[in-house]
Symmetry: C2
Subunit: 566 residues, 2 copies
Amino acid sequence: MKQSTYLIPTLRDIPSGADIVSHQLMLRAGLIRQSAAGVYSFLPLGWRVLRKVEQIVREEMDRSGAQEMLMPSIQPAELWKESGRWEAYGEELMRVTDRHNREFALGPTHEEVITSIVRDDVRSYKELPMTLYQIQTKFRDERRPRFGVLRGREFLMKDAYSFDKDFEGLDESYEKMYTAYNSIFSRLGLNFRAVIADSGAMGGKDTHEFMVLSNVGEDTIAYSDASDFAANIEIAPVNASYDKPDEAAGELREVETPEQRTIEEVSRFLDVKPEKCIKSILFMADNEPVLLLVRGDHEANEIKLKHELNAETVEMATEQQTKEILGSVPGFIGPAGVPAELNVYADHAVEYIVNGVCGANKEKFHLLNVNPERDFSVTAFKDLRSIQEGDPSPDGRGVIHFKEGIEVGHVFKLGTKYSEALGAEYLNDQGKAKPIVMGSYGIGVSRTVAAVIEENYDENGIVWPACVSPFDVHLIAINVKQEEQRSLAEKIYGTLQARGTEVLYDDRPERAGVKFKDADLIGIPLRVQVGKKASEGFVELKHRKTGEVEEVHVDELSDVLEKCQQ
Amino acid sequence: MKQSTYLIPTLRDIPSGADIVSHQLMLRAGLIRQSAAGVYSFLPLGWRVLRKVEQIVREEMDRSGAQEMLMPSIQPAELWKESGRWEAYGEELMRVTDRHNREFALGPTHEEVITSIVRDDVRSYKELPMTLYQIQTKFRDERRPRFGVLRGREFLMKDAYSFDKDFEGLDESYEKMYTAYNSIFSRLGLNFRAVIADSGAMGGKDTHEFMVLSNVGEDTIAYSDASDFAANIEIAPVNASYDKPDEAAGELREVETPEQRTIEEVSRFLDVKPEKCIKSILFMADNEPVLLLVRGDHEANEIKLKHELNAETVEMATEQQTKEILGSVPGFIGPAGVPAELNVYADHAVEYIVNGVCGANKEKFHLLNVNPERDFSVTAFKDLRSIQEGDPSPDGRGVIHFKEGIEVGHVFKLGTKYSEALGAEYLNDQGKAKPIVMGSYGIGVSRTVAAVIEENYDENGIVWPACVSPFDVHLIAINVKQEEQRSLAEKIYGTLQARGTEVLYDDRPERAGVKFKDADLIGIPLRVQVGKKASEGFVELKHRKTGEVEEVHVDELSDVLEKCQQ
């Protein structure tokens, strides 16, 4: 492709409003342009990358045995009412009314449509299992579109849906998708983890988010430095191995702590380490009070408490509630001397505290030398704190670190939620109708392009991995007005194209500096520079990633490039 | 692909509401399913065909030098207000409002978006010419969606836009697209014509519709049986070569024709041929009366009259207006003795009438032996009738026939309509700002799939041309319970896949009759049937189109298939 008339509007300056590197670089390298908040065009260069990501996704989906199809964006409201999501999806669902005043959703996802097709067209257990997928535009009216194509309102997504006879079948289909996703993100060279995620209201046990570990993102991931363990910090389990200090139990006593409420204040005031303190928080779980204890240097984890109690809602008690139940206020509460009927849940670490400190349930007072069992009783010791950096990995291998995560994929066991709501049944081998068991699997294709950039750039621009680079080779005629350079470059252009290499040929009458700056920004891995030595048949081969330059004779260029591309 | 778990829900019966063959077959062969009026899913088989059509379109667009990109469906209302189409597009434009009450169009086409991108990112004449295209989903809220994917509300389209410095450049860009479109529809094996179309309000001179000549469609096309001439009958020029009968002029006289108004009635009553009659119609052209004359066996063409007069509107005069101007009523009017100031336009054929018949401008009377010039004067003789079957082709080669046409493509010179409305300018080589000159080029990709079927079917189902067939080969194990058949079929399946052949393998435990019926319906060009002679290593190769069957030894199968596919 000749660059002179190819639409690559590069920008020297960082566009305003672009807060993260991938967004800045996608705008600066002329990959995308914004039409509205969260709505982008992919210009030719960006489109080529998008297509390459799409093709890798497609190949791995096909290899897994999934069948590609294409569903419409316009989805009848009736289907969404059948599933209950017309209301539940809220403002994120874009809605449109046709000329006959019929309502439609602009598909943010396609569970309803695919379930209705399978309901009408799949009858027998003989036709199952089946996994269907599409690569298609999705619409979500995000409250806060941001980070360019990382969180857009219109974006390209691969969504797949599996249909099985039973939950064992679902396990297999899920495993296939899980494997395919690993292959996809591995081929893209991403530093990713399959992260155990919270299945939330869906109730399914298995759900994994595929997270690219990054410096930006909307989730924090705890991962091991020595294994493939990774989990969203919201639900990461904690490896409960603590040592009990070899220390005799002291005498329980009350001390005045007039202004000291937080662990930090108390520990400084009393000169005890935070890990000796017991953090006590009163929650209302489905309107029943429960006291949660964690070690002073740990964070209480509400989601774990909620799961432990199997509660619908868990909220911190108000000051008023705290007073009524414990006779004191937050900052001065503790587990000693609480009403017998109050459930007290403690994180495992609390069991190992000797001579601890906690609130006295009396304003402006704390207790010293508090010991579990002796001074207070606990309903149960459980994993109720959040994981921390430096913790041992829950799988016993390595140490936990934190990174931001970009969610590029999600695999989810739906079970029979949609098949029951929409009546998608099959006849089993005894001729009995059974609900089809479903799974749902997404990959954010446009978002993945941004994630690749977040991992592959330097101060001069993008550094594409070869597999998704918009072109294989960037050919630059340094001075097109110089006849020998121009004609050699044209010749190389022809030769490379003939051997199937995707070449971007900078034939612009621009200064060398402009060309090099653009080339760095665009980030094609291999660059062939035709300059002063053109008359002798020599060109420069520059590697974008390393900056390494080698002089190559034009007769050897094809061979050298072939070696580089292996 | 194994058919047992591949989603091909074939139907034996013709689905209700499907009026044309392609719609019926797309439903019956399991290519598509409807979600709402004019809104379809492409099931796996249909999707494969859609992709193949898409790929042919892409290859030819790329070959023409056009650059692929991807624009969003959600388009800000502001852009459409700038072009004036927010109002002008009417109810066909689907509109959506986001959570912040901002209005958007769901793109039915992308002139506004692409012009705004080029406005912002193209500056210099050096960057032109440039043609950008995308293959993307379009939304049009058709008043009457019908014929399946032939007239849908959500459909896949290839839309391209050319940007040039001047109108000469536009001519070249247009020509490139015209050539690419010819290549595309030729590769698809369609019987199509590039039809001269009415540029309507756009004012551009050159616009062609690419029409597949068919038995269904929404336009009627006049085409030559001996050349590539084709035009919409609404505007097809007529070859004006008539002979004057060798007959002496008779005496003009009035006859009573009490109930005879139409040409048919008058010609029967007076026993003269219709081609001797002069059909006279009074029009109001921009509120000025004009009398149009055509031969009795011809049809008057209002669009030609409108173009001839350069009028904004042309409407038939009311009975009241006719009485005021001619003193008579429709059915009895004629050109003789009309007021001198009345313009009389006549089709060329009228000039060659000798001793004709026309209305007497007196109720219940006609005139006999009317002769042009002698008995009435004519402002101008022009091409003012519609073309007819049997007419000589206007290019002098062959005879005109009519066919219905399916519009699969449209090329259009936009000029500066959008660039001026949106302010898309470039700086010319003197540094002067000039509006960019644009063209617009569309192909209905999903519609083309239907058009291909309209040309390729028989009483048993679809007969795919190889280039867009969902699979190359349909492999059928006639009786999978028979071990020798099954294992030979499996072996062939593996071998064909290994050599890159796309195989649909019918491994279903169904009766042979069901399998053959489905195979005919699905219409893959080559079928390999593994049956009773499996034990001897023989299979049947059946050609879908001809029904021809040959017995082939499995060792020679690859070679034979290769020959067939050439």
